[in-house]
């Protein structure tokens, strides 16, 4: 998404508020695209999942729910939309993790495909590294959920929605420096959580 397309986005939001179904659908496309990328990233370290279903299939189930939940909400502003979308995307990713690796998840006891993270030897020597399995990603998303609101909002925009800091500053109506600062605070907090509170 470019800065320029923000104008289009606002136009779409205005249309969506008047009840235009197609505008709302278009509005969701951006978030759906991000959800697909995040899903693929999360499953990248777990190719064995394809034994049951492809990443795209997993995505589609999530997509339908994301679509449904966002479609039923009244969108008031760009900021409001991205906040809702960020929360929903994270919820979907957490559900995916639970679905596959919860107590009854199909991957929970499937040793040939899934190695628990503590069996990965040195790969996860530093737990603040990028998660490389679904469990770790699940933890990461849960940590984000617990961030203070201001930081979480910035993580929503920059990480979950893939906006630039400049775009985020326009949407939140704060300076780019404030965005940088909140993003940095969020990263430090997440680092602390991922490395077991040692940070």
């Amino acid at each position: 998404m470019t800065v320029g397309s923000d104008t289009q986005l606002q136009g779409l939001i205005d249309l969506a508020k008047t009840g235009d179904d197609r505008a709302k659908t278009l509005l969701l496309d951006h978030s759906c695209d991000r959800l697909l990328k995040l899903t693929r990233k999360m499953f990248r370290g777990f190719p064995g999942l394809k034994r049951w279903e492809t990443t795209d299939d997993v995505f589609q189930n999530s997509l339908i729910r994301l679509h449904r939940s966002l479609a039923s909400m009244q969108v008031e502003s760009v900021r409001h939309f991205f906040n809702l979308a960020g929360v929903q995307i994270r919820r979907e990713l957490l559900d995916l993790k639970k679905h596959h690796f919860g107590p009854e998840g199909r991957g929970a006891n499937h040793h040939t495909d899934h190695q628990p993270s503590d069996e990965l030897g040195g790969v996860l020597a530093n737990k603040a590294d990028e998660p490389d399995d679904i469990c770790m990603w699940g933890e990461f998303h849960a940590y984000v959920d617990r961030l203070p609101e201001e930081q979480k909002e910035v993580v929503n925009l920059l990480f979950y929605e893939g906006l630039t800091q400049e775009e985020a500053s326009v949407i939140l109506g704060v300076s780019e420096r404030t965005i940088k600062r909140r993003w940095q605070e969020a990263k430090l907090k997440l680092h602390e959580e991922l490395s077991g509170g040692s940070g």
């Binding site: 179904d21 659908t25 997440l190």
Partner: protein
């Protein structure tokens, strides 16, 4: 305590800014005035480095986002280009002065930031395309490559700075600056004729060599970045962007003309037309605001050129940069007796002088190209603006150089019928909105009208049998009707976001598969044409395959008679067909793929025929009007979520003993 926290945050921001610029500053250096903070700062810097993966783009698997650091220990790329000094940095890339060990010369190496790139492949393909441009006012590209995940471009090192530097120093005579704009417009004209659009024309990208000539740099690179959809222009770039670029609309060579207009305005007045320091305000100004009053003394003839180039609508600008250049030349001609324009003589003597200049300044450079202004320098052509070739006794259109908004393709040329619209014949950046095709045409080849962003109306005449891949990709068509004669329709309409309607002639008996064709949720109706444009589908009886998402979001679809021969219905085929009321699944279909009827709230009746063996998950989610579903005896597998969130009573037909 808060004071300490505040200070640490400031120091960390400072560290991050420096780190982004390639300087890994130590905590002790940063906090030399606050030594008590050094241990905490060190821990935080370490943490930020460890979690830097959060800043990487999602689809970038390469390591870090930083180009090689401009450390004293110089980095060498491809075992050849030794980076010496960072000489420029923008939002998109860093530029280093470097030394080419092999040819023993100074070069410039540009290293884009991975986060601004779509993919290495796209970037390299674009860079190679640009490298083929040979023009004396275009900075030559010597090499491109990737090393350890870092893309780089090697170009000539132009030592005398940029037009931005010159304007900044305030020492450029107006005539000199105009000459540079003229040179750059010639370079752009050549590039456009070769199908390359710059998209980032600005004084910083206009370099001045030691002979005082202007050279255009960064060709096409911004375009590669833009493909990712994540290109965030810097304020510096934003000021020169055309309204349509900022609105996310398709841009073409006329966007370059707009930017060139801004440059022209700037060299004439010393300022730019819209100059807010707030990106959001600046964007609105560029899109909506009227041009400010013209400064006193602005020459009327140049103002007219500039005003036209700065039109909000691309249609109102010069139709081509060739026209822009020609208008500037006319201004020059009219002033020969007035203001001294020494560059006119230079232009007249261009071939000879350029050869001399090239020989003296660039030892290994290729011979100076002859820049042809097509179609002016072309021999008389009986087909007018069309290029063509004669294939056996028929004519194939191979190119077009006109500028009218409606293009009428002739039915005969040199007394032979025109039967083929050739590969890429009209590709990219044309001015037309409508093309009239004669009924002599049989074949429309690959990418024939690809990226004709303004093409809205195109009637395929009966007689056309073959339409190949990409024929209409990137066009602004809203509807397309396939006549009975079409027997091959390739993947011709992908990336047509405005296309809403596809019509298939009832008499078309060969168009048997819609797989892939409708993989585009903007399609709202498939119509039998010409009759019943407002009525929904009646599919050709020979269709046997209904592809994945085939009718996804067909909001007008109320009923559909699937031909009996249909043996496959793809996943999400009728997803969110909100008006769909009833459907009969043909007996040849063995499996209802996942989510076939999700969100079809008016679906009241579905008949599943004997022969169906499997019902996959999430099939009837949100089908709130379904009262009863009868499962035929042939069904062997039902996914646990097949009927989730569906109120229907499930009836099961017991198999006969």
């Amino acid at each position: 305590m808060d004071r300490v926290k505040e200070l640490l945050a400031e120091l960390l921001l400072r560290w991050e800014e420096l780190y982004d610029r390639g300087q890994d500053t130590s905590a002790s250096e940063l906090a030399k005035d606050h030594p008590e903070l050094i241990p905490q700062l060190e821990r935080r810097i370490k943490a930020l480095k460890e979690i830097a993966w959060l800043d990487k783009p999602l689809d970038d698997d390469s390591a870090g986002d930083e180009p090689p650091k401009p450390t004293p220990v110089a980095c060498t790329l491809a075992n050849r280009f030794q980076l010496d000094e960072l000489i420029a940095e923008g939002g998109f890339a860093q530029v280093f002065r470097a030394y080419d060990r092999e040819l023993q010369r100074t070069v410039a190496v540009k290293i884009p930031k991975p986060s601004k790139l779509g993919s290495h492949e796209d970037f390299l393909a674009e860079a190679r395309r640009v490298a083929r441009l040979k023009h004396d006012s275009i900075v030559p590209v010597h090499d491109v490559g990737v090393e350890n995940g870092t893309c780089f471009i090697v170009t000539e090192y132009v030592e005398d700075g940029s037009l931005a530097d010159k304007l900044g120093s305030g020492t450029v005579p107006r005539e000199q600056a105009l000459r540079w704009v003229s040179e750059i417009s010639e370079a752009l004209e050549y590039a456009h004729l070769n199908g390359v659009i710059h998209r980032d024309i600005k004084p910083a990208n206009i370099l001045i060599d030691h002979h005082g000539r202007a050279l255009l740099a960064d060709f096409g690179i911004a375009h590669s970045a833009n493909k990712t959809g994540s290109f965030a222009p810097s304020l510096g770039t934003l000021r020169y962007m055309a309204p349509e670029q900022l609105e996310g609309k398709p841009s073409d060579q006329r966007s370059d003309i707009y930017s060139l207009g801004v440059v022209l305005y700037e060299v004439m007045t010393g300022r730019i037309p819209y100059s807010s320091s707030e990106p959001n305000v600046l964007r609105k100004e560029i899109i909506l605001a009227k041009l400010p009053a013209w400064p006193a003394g602005f020459p009327g003839d140049v103002r007219r050129i500039c005003q036209k180039a700065l039109s909000k609508s691309p249609h109102q600008r010069q139709a081509s940069v060739a026209q822009f250049a020609a208008e500037l030349r006319r201004v020059a001609s009219s002033r020969r007796g007035g203001i001294p324009w020494p560059w006119i003589a230079l232009l007249v003597a261009l071939p000879t002088l350029l050869t001399v200049a090239v020989l003296s300044s660039r030892p290994p450079a290729p011979p100076a190209p002859v820049v042809r202004s097509f179609p002016e320098n072309r021999p008389p052509n009986p087909a007018g603006d069309f290029r063509y070739e004669i294939v056996r006794d028929e004519v194939k259109i191979t190119g077009f150089a006109g500028s009218s908004t409606v293009v009428k393709i002739p039915d005969t040329i040199e007394a032979r019928p025109v039967t083929i619209i050739g590969q890429e014949a009209f590709k990219q950046s044309k001015d037309f909105t409508e093309v009239i095709v004669p009924n002599t045409i049989r074949t429309i080849e690959d990418s024939a009208f690809r990226d004709c962003h303004w093409l809205r109306t195109f009637t395929i005449p009966n007689g056309v049998t073959t339409i190949r891949d990409g024929a209409f990709t990137g066009c602004a068509l809203t509807e397309i009707f396939l006549p009975a004669s079409v027997t091959h329709f390739g993947n011709a309409i992908y990336a047509c976001p405005t296309l809403k309607t596809i019509g298939v002639a009832p008499a078309n008996r060969i168009f048997t598969s819609i797989d892939g064709l409708l993989y585009d949720k903007d399609i709202t109706a498939i119509l039998r044409c010409p009759e019943g444009r407002s009525a929904p589908v009646g599919l050709n009886s020979k269709i046997h395959h209904v592809g994945r998402m085939a009718f996804h979001h067909c909001l007008n679809l109320s009923s559909i008679d699937l031909p009996k021969g249909v043996a496959f219905i793809g996943q999400m085929a009728f997803y969110r067909c909100t008006k769909l009321q009833q459907i009969v699944i043909p007996p040849g279909v063995k499996k209802l793929e996942a989510q076939t009827f999700v969100d079809c709230p008016r679906l009241e009746r579905i008949i599943l025929n004997e022969g169906l063996e499997e019902i996959d998950g999430g099939n009837f989610w949100g089908c709130s009007s379904l009262q009863t579903i009868t499962i035929p005896a042939s069904v062997k597998t039902i996914h646990p979520t097949a009927f989730e969130n569906c109120p229907a009573t499930i009836e099961y037909v017991k198999p006969q003993p």
